[in-house]
């Protein structure tokens, strides 16, 4: 066997009619698109799509993060901003 003029390989190639191959691949792509959209939709209500163990684990991670030194230092550092924001909100509400 030898290279053809375009440099593409030649050999005992499996083929399908072009429209049949396109239909099979298009069907996969469409199903994937639906799955992607459903997954995005589930993300919007993520709490409902998690299993009990996953929800408990996520809650525990949140508790651990809020108990961390980095979180507490961050809260302390941004405390004046939060107080100022409260004043601004109250002043606008008057």
């Amino acid at each position: 066997m030898s290279d053809d003029k375009n440099g593409a390989w030649v050999g005992p190639e499996s083929t399908l009619p072009a429209d049949e191959l396109a239909a099979r691949e298009r069907q996969l792509a469409l199903v994937d698109r639906v799955f992607g959209l459903e997954a995005q939709l589930a993300e919007l209500s993520a709490q409902n799509s998690l299993t009990p163990s996953e929800r408990l684990r996520t809650e525990q991670r949140l508790i651990e993060m809020q108990g961390s030194l980095a979180w507490r230092l961050g809260r302390a550092a941004t405390a004046p901003l939060r107080v100022a924001q409260r004043f601004v909100v109250r002043a606008r509400a008057r």
């Binding site: 390989w9 190639e13 191959l21 997954a39």
Partner: protein, 396 residues
């Protein structure tokens, strides 16, 4: 009653049996936390993290196939009374509380019950393996995308795809397979010629003329597949275990299992893939770069276990499931297509399982720096953001 355990008296959990390993102690708030968790999520079985000799032992989410090889539930387990005599691996409502609710000097794991299917045996390292004989002799379509690349392995130059095909043909004990090699136009003619010689009647060559898209190449192979099962395989692998296909196939035939992955090793024998790990909006490999003998506190690298996902470098699933979930998403041309595939499989309610008993070399560079397109990361987080925050099956 489980040998080595006793029941703890309580007032508010009439329908449940709180079992504690002999010598273990409950944390002061344990019964309150158990009551609260069961009020939110009524379950047949509850278990929790523990402290062993002062060290925190985190446990994975419910993993029924793992439970057949390794009792990882720990020193505290709370059973619905009607479920006490059932095989725990067959329970459907099980909750893991990721908080320390008990302490012990050393956990004594009970011997798992005889599995409802499969044959338990001892591995060389003393751990238990359940071998699942293949039902029937289904055809497995091995899909290998390639461009005919070469590399120096162990000081020898080799054409990766040719050696992968040769290894499968010559060294795999399972024989009902077809090899679908999806080859770029640019694949050297000499490689094609050698593939034809090595692959024989089991080889089917499929052309890829478009721009690079790993997912679309695999989907092209799947469009030609005749097999009941698809085995997605990179061209730079070399099977170590002769029974790797039947090991993966036997697992894939178990009820509830959607996809099965293997233990992949770098050329130097360190671990390349011990399952996927999804955490902090990031996806990676469990045990990446670990020496083979290294393990975590639970001994997770020695047992077949449920995981969040597996690499498409070696993954087996039914052709029907692959088509029902839309195959590999071409949104992910080069990266994260296997993460997306795994999460699609799990979104159907099926599990993804990894096994150390199907072992292959994966000659990927340890220093591989995959160029991840920002669009791939964005698409992954858009689809699966909450699934990438914490990994239910791996806690280290």
């Amino acid at each position: 009653m489980i040998p080595g355990f006793h029941e703890v008296a309580h007032e508010r959990l009439d329908d449940y049996a709180v079992l504690l390993q002999n010598g273990a102690t409950l944390e002061p708030s344990a019964l309150e936390e158990i009551t609260a968790a069961l009020a939110r999520f009524p379950s047949q079985l509850l278990y929790a993290d523990s402290r062993e000799g002062g060290e925190l032992i985190r446990r994975p989410a419910f993993s029924p196939l793992r439970l057949r090889e390794q009792d990882y539930l720990g020193p505290l387990r709370v059973y619905l009374r009607g479920a006490l005599d059932l095989d725990p691996s067959l329970l459907t409502e099980v909750v893991h509380v990721p908080r320390v609710l008990s302490s012990t000097t050393a956990t004594v794991a009970p011997e798992p019950a005889d599995p409802p299917s499969g044959v338990p045996e001892r591995r060389a390292d003393g751990t238990r393996r359940v071998r699942y004989p293949v039902q029937g002799e289904p055809l497995v379509s091995v899909i290998i995308p390639t461009r005919g690349g070469a590399a120096t392995i162990g000081g020898t130059d080799r054409i990766l795809v040719v050696e992968a095909v040769r290894a499968i043909v010559e060294r795999s004990s399972y024989r009902a397979f077809e090899l679908l090699v999806v080859a770029d136009d640019e694949t050297p003619q000499a490689v094609i010629d050698e593939l034809v010689a090595v692959g024989g009647d089991q080889l089917r060559l499929i052309r890829w003329s478009d721009t690079f898209n790993f997912s679309a190449k695999v989907n092209r192979g799947a469009a030609f597949a005749s097999g009941e099962y698809l085995l997605l395989l990179n061209d730079d692998v070399d099977p170590v275990s002769p029974d790797w296909i039947e090991t993966m196939l036997g697992l894939a035939q178990q009820p509830g299992v959607g996809m099965v992955g293997a233990l992949l090793l770098f050329e130097d024998g360190t671990v390349q893939h011990g399952g996927h790990l999804y955490r902090d909006s990031w996806a990676g490999h469990i045990a990446l770069g670990w020496p083979l003998e290294r393990d975590d506190r639970l001994g997770s690298m020695r047992v077949t276990r449920e995981v969040s996902g597996v690499t498409a470098a070696c993954a087996l699933l039914t052709a029907d499931l692959f088509r029902r979930i839309g195959g590999l998403s071409s949104v992910f041309a080069g990266n994260y297509n296997d993460v997306d595939l795994s999460l699609k499989v799990r979104s159907t309610g099926a599990s993804v399982v990894w096994t150390p008993d199907a072992r292959l070399y994966h000659f990927e560079s340890k220093t591989r720096d995959a160029a991840v397109a920002p669009s791939e990361i964005a698409a992954l987080r858009q689809r699966w953001g909450s699934r990438l925050l914490t990994d239910p099956y791996w806690s280290d």
